[in-house]
Structure formats: structure tokens, C-alpha cells
């Protein structure tokens, strides 16, 4: 089994296993419900900004952190259980090489990401469509910056999910992998590590914003991709008597997200190849 055929088989098998798994649909359904609840109130209250194209600021923002967390959690669920059930071992016995098993499983990163980000974007977009007055709308309803923001969200997800994927393959236990992942993105990356660096290496604190989870935050904000959205944000902040933060150049954050994804998946691959199943 080589090349395109191998890729096709791996893709079909992973999707087959995922779509037959109730836990996958429960997680996705729960996130859909969460998203519906999140946007339900402004939709029902016919809030000012709840229409196309204004909705994009609400779709791509701080709340997007939740989609990253939900999707990464589901990824751990779909990966680490293969070790508990010893099906990873059996797949290799049945004829997959260890590399094929690994790359097959890593296909879950984009697949799970697309499924959750799809739900995250589709629900508010559909609700906003209902409230949109197409005759009164100014400019394109779906500007190019929406796709850029979706790409940024996808990349932010990949870098954080790659860490979850690495932990799943190294720890090989769902609960423990999730616990370590939450420990990292929570107390360690957002608390202890910055505190230690600022205390002992204050002049090195600049790179803290490029750590896997922290690096993703600027990538989630629609205003960092869309000039009119930034202007609206700046106007709102100034109206509140505060100074808006300057527009961000995302180049380094995008590069860091891609680098984290490649590095973490690469470490997972080497570790998986070297260890016995």
C-alpha cells in the first residue's frame, strides 16, 4: 500500500472510525449547542451587529478559544484511546507501517479542526443571514478577510492541537494526556512560566507571546485581518476614553503557529516510531 492509495485508505479508515464513534458526535453536538446558546440571545434580541457582514467580529474573537479547546479535546479522545484498546498495535499488525498509522492519525488534526471550526462559523453565519437586510448591506457580505481569519483560526487550532496530539501519543492515556494538556495551556503557559521568566529573565519576556497557546490569541481576532473591523474597534475603544492597541502584524504569529505545529507533530512522529507498541 503506497502513495495516493495509502492516503485514501488511511483517510477513509480514520473518518469511518470517527463517524461511528458516538463520543465524537456528542462532543460536536455539545459544541454546536454551546455555539447556538452563545449567539442565541443577540439573535433573538435582534442586536445591532448581528447581521452580515458585521457578524464576523463576533465569529472570530475571544470566544474562538472555546472551539480550539473543544476540538483539541476531541482529538485526544480519538487518538489516545487507540492505545488503551491496543488497536494502534493491531492496525500495525494488520499491515500498516508505523509511519502510515501515524500519518493516518495525524489526518485527524485537520479533519477534527474543520468539523469544529465549520460548526463554529456555520451556526452564527446562518443566524446572521436571517437577520441580514441584503438591500441595505454595504460592501461584500463575506469579505476576503473572513477566509484569512478562518485560516488564522485553523492555524491557531493546529498549533494547540498538535501539543494535545503529541501528549496523546507519548502518554497514551486519555485522562492523563488531557490533564497534562490542560496543565500546560492553563497554569504553566498562562501562569507559572510567564511569572518565572519575568522574575528571572525579564529581558527575555518578549518570546512568551509566541508560546503555543498564547501565540494563538492574536490569530483569533477578526480586527487583525480586516481594516474596517479594526477601525470600528478603535472607534469604540476611543469612545470609551481608552487608547486602542495598534493593529498587529500577524506574520510572526502565523509563522510561529506553523512552526509549533511542525515541531510538535515532528516530535510525536519520532517518539512514535522509536517506541514499541
Amino acid at each position: 500500500m503506497k502513495g495516493a492509495r495509502a492516503f485514501g485508505v488511511l483517510m477513509r479508515n480514520e473518518w469511518f472510525k470517527a463517524r461511528k464513534r458516538v463520543a465524537f458526535w456528542i462532543a460536536l453536538g455539545f459544541y454546536a449547542f454551546f455555539t447556538l446558546m452563545n449567539h442565541g440571545q443577540p439573535f433573538l434580541e435582534r442586536s445591532e451587529g448581528f447581521r452580515l457582514p458585521d457578524i464576523w467580529t463576533a465569529v472570530f474573537g475571544d470566544e474562538s478559544t472555546m472551539v480550539v479547546i473543544f476540538a483539541a479535546l476531541t482529538l485526544v479522545l480519538l487518538s489516545a484511546t487507540e492505545f488503551g484498546w491496543r488497536t494502534a498495535r493491531q492496525n500495525v499488525i494488520d499491515g500498516l507501517s508505523k509511519s502510515q498509522w501515524f500519518w493516518g492519525k495525524s489526518l485527524l488534526l485537520p479533519v477534527v479542526g474543520l468539523a469544529f471550526i465549520g460548526v463554529h462559523v456555520a451556526i452564527p453565519t446562518l443566524l446572521a443571514l436571517i437577520r441580514t437586510d441584503f438591500a441595505a448591506a454595504e460592501g461584500p457580505l463575506v469579505p476576503l478577510s473572513v477566509f484569512q481569519a478562518a485560516g488564522g483560526l485553523g492555524l491557531a487550532f493546529l498549533s494547540v492541537a498538535a501539543l494535545a496530539f503529541l501528549l496523546s501519543l507519548v502518554i497514551r492515556r486519555t485522562g492523563a494526556a488531557l490533564a497534562v494538556w490542560f496543565l500546560w495551556i492553563g497554569p504553566i503557559e498562562s501562569g507559572m512560566l510567564p511569572a518565572l521568566v519575568r522574575r528571572f529573565l525579564p529581558d527575555q519576556a518578549g518570546w512568551l507571546e509566541y508560546l503555543p497557546f498564547t501565540n494563538g490569541f492574536p490569530l483569533l481576532e477578526f480586527r487583525n485581518y480586516d481594516a474596517p473591523a479594526y477601525e470600528r474597534y478603535a472607534a469604540a475603544v476611543e469612545a470609551a476614553g481608552r487608547t486602542p492597541s495598534p493593529p498587529l502584524d500577524l506574520t510572526w504569529h502565523l509563522a510561529a503557529a506553523a512552526a509549533w505545529t511542525a515541531l510538535l507533530v515532528g516530535i510525536a512522529f519520532i517518539s512514535f516510531r522509536r517506541r514499541d507498541l
Binding site: M1, K20, W85, Q90, D94, G95, L96, S97, L277
Partner: protein, 311 residues
């Protein structure tokens, strides 16, 4: 044609402290096409580790092996497409049905749906094809594992304790399936504790102990080389055992059913009879008996009689 060939194959499991555990120690065995090869050894002797190395899930730390003559990673990967195997317990997705689990296997092996129906029929699971794996009994799970090994019509079938945990009826079913496979000309590599079954099913055996090969050969060779003298006499059987064990060239003498069984090497029964008579013991029964594979196994491995794992 040599199907499996290992040369000085070794595996040492690393430990945080010390030198670790040597699970397989320079193992060299050969399995030829068409053989039903029994791979025997007490628990922890390295059987599963050896099979794991052949199947690519455990990395060897020394030596080499060839499958269907192939040795490079690419050749081994291609060779593994010609193998159907199950290791230790049946490992399947608990939320998938029997048939869906076989679909996953079939895709990996590049096989089709027809194969699935056929192998389910062979192992008698057609009517339970929609049962989820987690709801299967142990017997069904073992049969499903056997079905999975048959998908794609592999030339070599590797089975590690295929009847583990089964009742006698289940064991018999598994034995019948293995015999059926053997009759179709498949090469079978079977690791088992069920020595009676191995003796009946296998053509060749290898016995390993603490990771080392201690004996390899045909079942006939192994059992006929172990002909024992059965001696009975009136009086104290323990005194008889003691006297027999002092006979020149005698192996370990043991008491079984008021008789003493002993390997007598090149000497004949008449020499033994003369020896005993010289001690004032007159045998009431003297015969040569062929040892069973179980006896040979216990003698070779030094496993005490009544060893609980042997079924």
C-alpha cells in the same frame, strides 16, 4: 521456501536503573512454507516479544530477521501484507460491530467485502456480525480475531495464544479452524500453552525459555527422542525410583501412577532389568513409552509437574 528466519534476534527492555530485562536472547529459528510451527515456552519466556518483533510493533535491540526472504524495512512491510496475525488478546474497536471491525482490517489489507462475509462464515459469526465488539463473549472475540487474520487470504498466519481463556468447546472450535487453515496449505506460526493441541496440530516446534531457544525440531523428533522406560515393582515405589535414578545414564526419574518413568538413554530395558535385579528389585512391569510433548516440554524447561499454565 523459508518464510520466517531469525538470526540472533534479541530484545532488551530498558529500565531506569540497571541493564534492563533481556526478553529475547539471540534467538535463531526457521519456519519453512507449509509448516504448522508451534512456538512454546512458559509465561514470560519471550514468545510474544518475538512475535511482536516479527510483526513490526516491537523494535529489536539485536540480531536480524527475514520474512518471505525480505529484510529491509520496505521488504518487511511488503512481507507483512502476506501475514494475518493476532497477538495476545483480541484487539478491536469496542464501539464497532464485528463486521465494521473487519471492514477496518480489510481496508488496511486491501481486501474486499466478500472476504468479510466469507471469514465470518468460517468462524461462525455471520449471525452475530452486527453485534458490537464490546458486547461479544470472549469466545466470540477470539473467533473474530481469527477471522481478521484470514482476511486477504494470507500465506502466513501467526496466532498468539488463540484459545486463551476459552472453555473446552471453544478450544476445540479454534483447533478445528486452525486445522482447516493448515489443510489449505497455510504456514501457521502458533504460540500456545495447550501442549496437547500443539502436539496434535503442529508439525514442528521450538521451545524457548528465558528468551533462549532450548529445542527446535519436528514434533516426531522431539517426542521420539524422549522415549522413557516405565518400571513397576512390588514394594516401595520411592525405593524403586531411587534405585532407577542410580542406573547409569538414567535421566530424572519420576513417579506416575505407582510406576517410575525414566529416560534410559542408549541402554535397553534388559540392562535396566539386570541392574534392578542386582539391587534385589524384581520388576513386575517394564516397557518403553513415547513421551508426550507436554512431558518433553516439562523436562526441557524444567517446569515442575502440575504447572498451572499448562492446559
Amino acid at each position: 521456501m523459508t518464510i520466517i528466519e531469525t538470526e540472533g534476534l534479541s530484545k532488551r527492555y530498558a529500565a531506569l536503573r540497571g541493564a534492563g530485562t533481556l526478553a529475547v536472547d539471540e534467538l535463531s529459528v526457521q519456519v519453512e512454507a507449509g509448516q504448522v510451527y508451534g512456538f512454546l515456552g512458559p509465561n514470560g519466556s519471550g514468545k510474544t516479544t518475538t512475535i511482536g518483533m516479527l510483526l513490526g510493533i516491537i523494535n529489536p535491540t539485536g540480531g536480524s530477521f527475514r520474512l518471505f526472504g525480505g529484510e529491509t524495512p520496505a521488504e518487511l512491510h511488503a512481507a507483512r501484507q502476506r501475514i494475518g496475525a493476532t497477538l495476545e488478546y483480541p484487539n478491536f474497536y469496542p464501539y464497532l460491530s464485528c463486521r465494521d471491525n473487519l471492514r477496518v482490517v480489510a481496508r488496511v489489507k486491501g481486501s474486499d467485502e466478500v472476504d468479510i462475509a466469507e471469514v465470518l462464515e468460517i468462524v461462525g459469526l455471520t449471525s452475530r456480525r452486527k453485534t458490537k465488539f464490546k458486547a461479544c463473549s470472549l469466545g466470540m472475540k477470539q473467533r473474530l480475531a481469527l477471522a481478521a487474520t484470514m482476511i486477504g487470504d494470507p500465506e502466513l498466519i501467526i496466532l498468539d495464544e488463540p484459545a486463551n481463556g476459552l472453555d473446552p468447546a471453544g478450544q476445540r472450535e479454534i483447533r478445528d479452524i486452525i486445522r482447516e487453515l493448515a489443510s489449505r496449505g497455510k504456514t501457521i506460526f502458533l504460540s500456545s500453552h495447550m501442549l496437547h493441541e500443539v502436539e496434535r496440530t503442529c508439525t514442528h516446534v521450538a521451545i524457548i525459555e528465558t528468551g533462549r531457544l532450548v529445542r527446535e525440531g519436528s514434533v516426531d523428533e522431539l517426542t521420539s527422542a524422549r522415549t522413557v522406560a516405565a518400571v513397576a515393582a512390588d514394594g516401595d515405589v520411592e525405593a524403586l525410583r531411587q534405585a532407577v535414578s542410580e542406573f547409569e545414564g538414567a535421566g530424572h526419574a519420576r513417579v506416575e501412577d505407582d510406576r517410575v518413568l525414566v529416560q534410559v538413554g542408549g541402554a535397553g530395558l534388559s540392562e535396566l532389568n539386570r541392574f534392578l535385579a542386582g539391587r534385589g528389585i524384581y520388576a513386575s512391569h517394564l516397557s518403553l513409552e513415547r513421551q508426550s510433548l507436554e512431558d518433553a516440554f516439562m523436562e526441557i524447561t524444567g517446569t515442575p509437574e502440575g504447572f498451572g499454565e499448562i492446559q
